[in-house]
């Protein structure tokens, strides 16, 4: 079962929490939403951090 918990603050900021997904699916979904909504200001996730970091120039921190 794949799950997304989304919170949209009164300031419009969106926090997404993905659970139960393979790394590829998580990254694909996260990047697709980022492309549609706006700029990712924080990202914490598991494998492939370095790849995402180099592509998006974001601060990446392993949450595991």
């Amino acid at each position: 079962m794949e799950e997304v918990k989304m919170t949209i603050g009164r300031d419009g900021k969106v926090t997404l929490h993905f659970e139960g997904m393979k790394a590829d699916v998580r990254h694909c979904l996260a990047m697709e939403l980022e492309k549609l909504i706006g700029t990712a200001t924080e990202r914490k996730h598991g494998p492939r951090d370095e790849e995402v970091k180099s592509r998006l120039h974001l601060h990446v921190k392993d949450s595991q």
Binding site: M1, E2, E3, V4, K5, M6, T7, I8, G9, R10, D11, G12, K13, V14, T15, L16, H17, F18, E19, G20, M21, A23, R26, H27, L29, A30, E32, L33, E34, L36, I37, G38, T39, A40, T41, E42, R43, K44, H45, G46, P47, S63, Q64
Partner: protein, 149 residues
Amino acid sequence: MPCTFVCLTPVIIAAWPAIMSYVAGAVATLGLTAVKVVGENKTSVENQTQEIELELGSVQEGVISNKQVFTKDGIIFTVKCDERGRLILCAKGSETKERLREKATSLAGKIQQAYAYHKAMTQLRTTGFKVVAENIGQDQEIRVMLRRS
């Protein structure tokens, strides 16, 4: 199973009619009243002393003259497309700049919230997710839980 957190700050990029639908939702929530603009009249705006502007994003398809005006508590809010295609929220009133910025930021947040909700929900539904819970907290935060098998 690993999980991922992502925090996104919305940048509105849409056609003018779509932007107006997000604005309409935000305006209704905050109790603002639409003002009919007749030409480039100055009316009560001229009497106001302070003005601030916030940039919300860009207009994909729109005309520079496109604008919509709302008012509440003596503050006049204008959502407009400038000559560079930027989406601008302008607040004018006799209050302090800090107070105007606070009010404009509140409206901007609501517009961005409506935009982000629409974009995210459309994308998540397209990719097979179904809403299992949704609520709006007292803090006006929208919380949605979606699942797919």
